[in-house]
Symmetry: C2
Subunit: 238 residues, 2 copies
């Protein structure tokens, strides 16, 4: 048998493990979600609803987002911005990236309830989602550096007006493009988004950065010169 | 100004933030590290040495590893294993994947001390690293399913004997190949490892899975049919 690998200290405590025998601990579930090991999951495990709720509401989510945005800004500030002929762009996702649907998810179990297309669609049409403030900070800083934001979302074209209105209300103005999924085309997020990035590249844009909360925002050539993964323990988009 | 996005509950507490004004909180630092936002970092931030030490030693690391391995085993068990002519392989990294260098890092600040090639090289030559027990569990299960492990490491050829001895001592036997970096070739981890996976594929192997603790283990075509990211907040390999 192999040695135990933590011979130097005892376990400090059972942590949150009491009463979850046989269940994955929620912090480990979140680790596996955020690092793309768990895929195609439909809902937050029932026993993790409170954990995810606390993560989202108690500041951890905002602090994790800030760590990502601080690095994105440092990277952007380090780019040589002389060249590019004004064709440098940064791709932003919408849901849980530029905009936060936390007011919706807080009423729906933080992802522990099954996704409801109708209810969520109605919420989107309200155009009432707040900005994720950290993303707005990046957005404004990029503009001041001469890098143009491109908004690329898996929302369909029937949400264009509401999405544009919501973005404008929250301060997301002056973007280069707002790209939504065609209404009736069956295409998954990775295919759609990498295809749109390819079109941007073919049109002469240089994608210096790409930020989203789902790995499917960030995978698929051309990914962009550098990618940034925001937290999202509430849902999975394949 | 955008609304605050957590209007429903107050922050529960300042958490570990007291005394770290202007510093990234260590859990957010770890999030950004594990999701590949922070790159090319040299050491764990000084104020996070205790945090990382506790994470590694208090059970969190093992529980996070177990969540990843449980999913990897579920995936492997779901594969149709009839075909493949015995050419199905699973790629394993060595450091912080098959083997754990935690006994070394526990004596060297859990990554908060600058990397020391000489000292770490001497430790590797001891061939004394314990298995990461979760990885050994996956390894054995794959073998019982007829999937052959391939060990692919950024360790150089001068570590072959020690690495083979260490793996064997810890129960890693019967692997298909042990692939190490050539002694004097300058090639980064991503290039080396994706190149070796390409060779495997060209030789008729089907890479059904790929597991490592660094994103450079997992990026670069062909990645393998599915990839699994183990935790490692102690160091970065570019």
């Amino acid at each position: 048998m192999p040695l135990m690998i933590h011979p130097l200290r005892p376990r400090l405590s059972t942590g949150g493990l009491l009463g979850q025998k046989g269940r994955v601990p929620c912090d480990s579930w979140r680790f596996a979600v955020e690092t793309n090991t768990l895929r195609d999951w439909k809902t937050v495990p029932a026993w993790c609803e409170k954990y995810v709720g606390n993560y989202m509401m108690a500041g951890n989510y905002r602090r994790d987002s800030a760590a990502v945005i601080d690095e994105a800004i440092a990277y952007a500030e380090g780019l040589k911005l002389g060249g590019g002929n004004g064709k440098k762009v940064w791709v932003f996702d919408v849901d849980e990236t530029t905009l936060s649907n936390l007011p919706y998810y807080a009423k729906h179990g933080f992802g522990a309830e099954p996704y409801d297309w109708t209810k969520f669609g109605a919420y989107v049409q309200e155009a009432s989602a707040p900005a994720l403030p950290e993303s707005l900070r990046l957005y404004k800083r990029l503009q001041s550096l001469g890098i143009k934001p491109v908004i690329l979302t898996g929302r369909r074209e029937d949400k264009r007006e509401a999405t544009a209105k919501n973005l404008a209300r929250q301060g997301y103005t002056g973007y280069e493009k707002l790209l939504l999924k065609p209404q009736d085309v069956k295409v998954n997020s990775l295919e759609f988004k990498s295809g749109e990035r390819k079109k941007l590249q073919n049109a002469g844009y240089v994608i210096v950065g790409n930020i989203g909360d789902q790995w499917t925002d960030l995978f698929g050539a051309p990914e962009g010169a550098r990618t940034f993964k925001l937290p999202d323990p509430m849902y999975y988009v394949g």
